[in-house]
Amino acid sequence: MDLILQAAIIGILTGGVYALMASGLTLTFGVMEIINIGQGALVILGAYLIYVLEQKLHLDLFVGLLITMPLMFGFGLLIEWAFVRPLKRDRIMLSILVTFGVALVIEGLLGLIFTTDLVRLQAWYTTASFQVAGFYLSYIYVFGFLLSVVLLAALYFLIYRTKFGASLRALMENRTAAQLIGIPVERVSAITFGIGVALTAAGGMAFGATNSFNPGSSYDLISRLLVIIVLGGMGSLGGALIASVLMLVIEDVTAVIWSPIWSTTVFFIVLVIVLLVRPQGLFGQVAGRKQ
């Protein structure tokens, strides 16, 4: 029983980090109606940037985020301007192709620079653990979770307590009406995309500190992130959070009580059941609502 509880706790902690990575993806879809397939590659890019700062400048992983997050925000603006903004129609389909292309370029360049050898971010807290109420918890899982809580709270504040957030929500709900009240659609979209990419920097750090990774790690990541936003409901931030935690808890608990081999399968069975009952996902809107 203790093992199951411990697995559930680890699932919740890791789920928080996945929520961080998925929130950018679902936010981008909600506002811009595009699917950024490159999100996984951007997470890995974020992990490598921290890796470089740690190796070359001996910067702490969390301190490194002060550099990588603004950097990735700027990179997001550049991607949006160069590849996403020119898409005027069939945006969902074309955005998948375009951002997949971006992902391939990022993966190729990372492979060229870092080779395909697996690496892992190092700090004292990536290997140390502590005991609480009889459970052993790794510091990095707790720190990663806390980082996610702080960033998601900041994101919540931005979206629900600022004028920019109001414009972003308006855009998510009715693009035409948002344009007609003077919301600068292109600027809000670009900033949203930038925020989504900046969040991958943080997600990448947490991912790289808990997993070994190489440039090809993005494929597994993006498939998981897509599943999370589909389960949570495309465009729903709360949905992404719940789905992330649900996914990781189910996987971790299944691994303990049955076998790690079945953990992904069990999660997908849950996904199929949810989608049969609610095709729009847990918190998604029925298609056709937007104009």
């Binding site: 004028k163 109001a166 414009s167 929500r169 308006a170 709900e173 009715n174 035409t176 009406a177 948002a178 344009q179 007609l180 009240i181 003077g182 919301i183 600068p184 609502r289 104009q291």
Partner: protein
């Protein structure tokens, strides 16, 4: 004239929806555009509000060319459009919806003053301030949209089928508010499927068909024209050239 469209051609993709529209809107009037589906009525509003760039032709507002301006530029000139079919933001509160109407204003005191004014004109805005806009009835949502558009204190209001989905009693209330907005000194350009109701509150009527203005005149003249009834029974207006009735 406050607004003039001259030989405006516009469309989507490869086709022209508007095929040389000529239209004039007098300052302080209600002008109602009617016509069958696909006539290009809503497209006229879209080219005026900047949602759609005209391919050729001229649009002037207060004597100034506005063709090709984007929606923010158009708004800053005092032209607002209320979009067709429930354009409130359903998950946001009524107050948030109305406040967003002043998105382009940075003077908080002015925004608060305008909010008080529209709350007085539209009591539902105050009564349901903290309710989600999506929980209001269709008629109430229309009133919230009107309140939102007044936050910029516009001179010209473009209304796209405000009667859509409303029962007759609610429709009367909504149209009373349209009339009240005109009496408050604003000019209204209205697109309506419900021709009788729309023309009933208008000073000027315009009939469109196949991307062109076919008839125009005072609302009584347009309503009494025998070709109008034929149009709404599925026929077409036989007179190809534009006919001025008044």
């Amino acid at each position: 004239m406050l607004l003039n469209l001259t030989n405006v051609v516009a469309g989507y993709g490869g086709s022209d929806v508007l095929q040389g529209v000529n239209l004039a809107v007098e300052d302080g009037s209600i002008t109602c555009i009617v016509g069958p589906n696909g006539a290009g009525k809503s497209t006229v509003l879209r080219v005026v509000s900047g949602l759609l760039r005209p391919r050729t032709g001229e649009i002037t507002y207060n004597g100034r060319s506005i063709a090709g301006m984007n929606p923010r530029q158009i708004l800053s000139l005092g032209i607002v459009q209320v979009a067709q079919n429930h354009s409130v933001f359903p998950k946001m509160t009524v107050r948030e919806n109305v406040r967003l109407g002043a998105f382009m204003l940075s003077d908080r005191a002015l925004v608060n003053r305008r909010l008080e004014e529209v709350e007085e004109m539209f009591p539902v805005v105050k009564e349901r301030a903290n309710d989600k806009a999506g929980s209001l009835s269709g008629g109430q949502q229309r009133l919230v949209e009107f309140a939102r558009c007044l936050m910029l204190d516009p001179q010209l209001i473009l209304l796209d089928e405000p009667s859509m989905g409303l029962d007759p009693k609610t429709l009367r209330q909504v149209f009373e508010r349209v009339k009240a907005m005109q009496q408050g000194g604003r000019t209204i350009l209205l697109v309506e499927q419900n021709a009788r109701a729309g023309l009933g509150i208008s000073n000027h009527g315009v009939v469109m068909e196949s991307g062109r203005v076919r008839l125009e005149g005072s609302h009584e003249d347009v309503l009494s024209n025998p070709e109008i009834s034929q149009l709404y029974l599925g026929g077409t207006i036989s007179a190809a050239p534009k006919t001025s009735i008044s």
